[in-house]
């Protein structure tokens, strides 16, 4: 009787993961407090600040609350999610522009959705494969997020503003449209 070749992955018993909840969408962003979750990557803060400014100026959002996630590779810590869920109505997170932080920006979006907040993750388009893979791991295959062309880190302040303006419609759609 020959021996079977052993599996080195430990994933032979893959139970289907429960699909995480998606937050109820608002009609629009009038009066909403926008949470900006910044991942410390170069240009992430000015990019999200500009998104926040445009959402206030052009879409009637009431204000923004910016928070920084120090460990960009990991999903946002639970206390930060709780704090932002209590003080914000919608979340914009990013910019996913590295190997681990793109995946974790998507993971954050999924966590905030489950906490009841519509979320828009923004990743650079060079990291779509890893962002999609993370969505699958989190039980949300096909999770939608916004993309901006790579690179982001070397953009000038003016170029960052232009990029934010370019991705704004996608962000609004992610936060307000039912799937």
């Amino acid at each position: 009787m020959p021996y079977p070749i052993l599996d080195p992955t430990g994933t032979t018993t893959t139970a289907a993961k429960p699909q995480p909840a998606r937050a109820h969408r608002r009609h629009d962003l009038k009066g909403a407090i926008v949470g900006l979750l910044v991942n410390t990557k170069q240009n992430a803060a000015p990019f999200l600040d500009e998104i926040g400014r445009l959402l206030v100026d052009q879409h009637g959002a009431r204000g923004t609350v910016a928070r920084t996630k120090v460990n960009f590779a990991a999903p946002a810590p639970e206390d930060l999610v709780k704090e932002m869920a209590a003080s914000c109505d919608v979340i914009v997170t990013g910019i996913g522009d590295c190997g681990s932080c793109s995946a974790s920006a998507v993971a954050d979006g999924i966590v905030f959705e489950a906490a009841g907040l519509p979320a828009a993750a923004i990743c650079s388009d060079a990291f779509k494969v890893t962002a999609d893979a993370m969505a699958g791991l989190r039980g949300a295959p096909g999770y939608r997020y916004a993309t901006t062309p790579h690179p982001v880190a070397v953009l000038t302040a003016e170029q960052v503003k232009q990029r934010a303006a370019n991705v704004l419609d996608d962000v609004v759609a992610l936060l307000t449209e039912d799937e």
């Binding site: 021996y3 079977p4 052993l6 599996d7 430990g10 590779a73 190997g99 681990s100 791991l137």
Partner: protein, 353 residues
Amino acid sequence: MTQTPDPEQAQAAIEYCYAQGWSDGLPLVPASQPLVDRFLATTSRSPDEVIGEVEQVGRDCTVYLAAVNAAMAGCLPEYFPVVLAAFDALMRERAARGGGWQSTSGPAPMIVVNGPVRHELGFNTGGGAFGPGFRPNATIPRAIGLIVRNAFGIHPHVLEQATQGLPGRWSICLAENEEESPWPPFATDGGQSDGASAVSATLLRTCEFVDNRHTPDPEQVLADIADTISRTGSLIFRDTSAGVVFCPEHAQMLAEAGFSKQGVQEWLMEHCGRTGADLRRVGKNGLRGIGRFADPDHSADDTFSRILPSPLHVPIVVAGARNAAISMVVRIFGEWSGTATPVAPVPAALVRP
């Protein structure tokens, strides 16, 4: 003529492993239960014990999975305590617990083995320290790579996003040349007693040689090493970390001139760095927190910025042959934990004759 194992069957088994997506590109040893049992018999740890996890991808590695991957990497069962010690040492690195395996940097583990286990298991402790050619040195780091791929599920182009990676990923395992080193073993710097079998590990971004057979002056040799450490291309943050794997000849020259390991570290901390003008020329002169950026301001052009904040940021190992004055700067990804992990003794029942 002696009977050899059936190559057709061996090939079929190897191709099966490729087809499952388990391979790092090279052929694997197909793992069977009896082989993996021999690995598990070398440790008193439970096969179910979790020895590492990557929280963001929701995967972990048990002693059992480490054994399967080590067997597939080509390790002998008696290497397994070193694989476990190396993995424990690596999981103490912040970058290895965080996003390091997914990083665009594509970092390579560097494993350093000290003590009697080097000779007991037949590690290369001499020339060609960075490989290849020696089974324990080659297969133990490969086992780490297979654990990351298979147990953690971090595959190239998917969750692993290395831009270029680096030569030597999953293949750097140095056995320190303690016999020709003038200084205490590296594991002693990591908190183990002299003479202990122990493993240290960190992550590297690259290795860069310093060939200086040109001068009898040890400070000129150190200055040559400092120049490589101070290269701007590798400078990302305010501080950096770069170890030196000294060849025995450089190490002995320094020791004869009165340099302890700590003396070398202090010399390098003092002399490694760049002027503001150098940094401005490459767009890295500005500091925002610990991050660097291109600041048009010229006013700090004459300032010399040191980049190695502590001896921990300049770990020193001695490896290689005593046949030329060639040392290696090893560029560390993040920061070495400063600890070494003892190799647990193999239960007597398994020791080979």
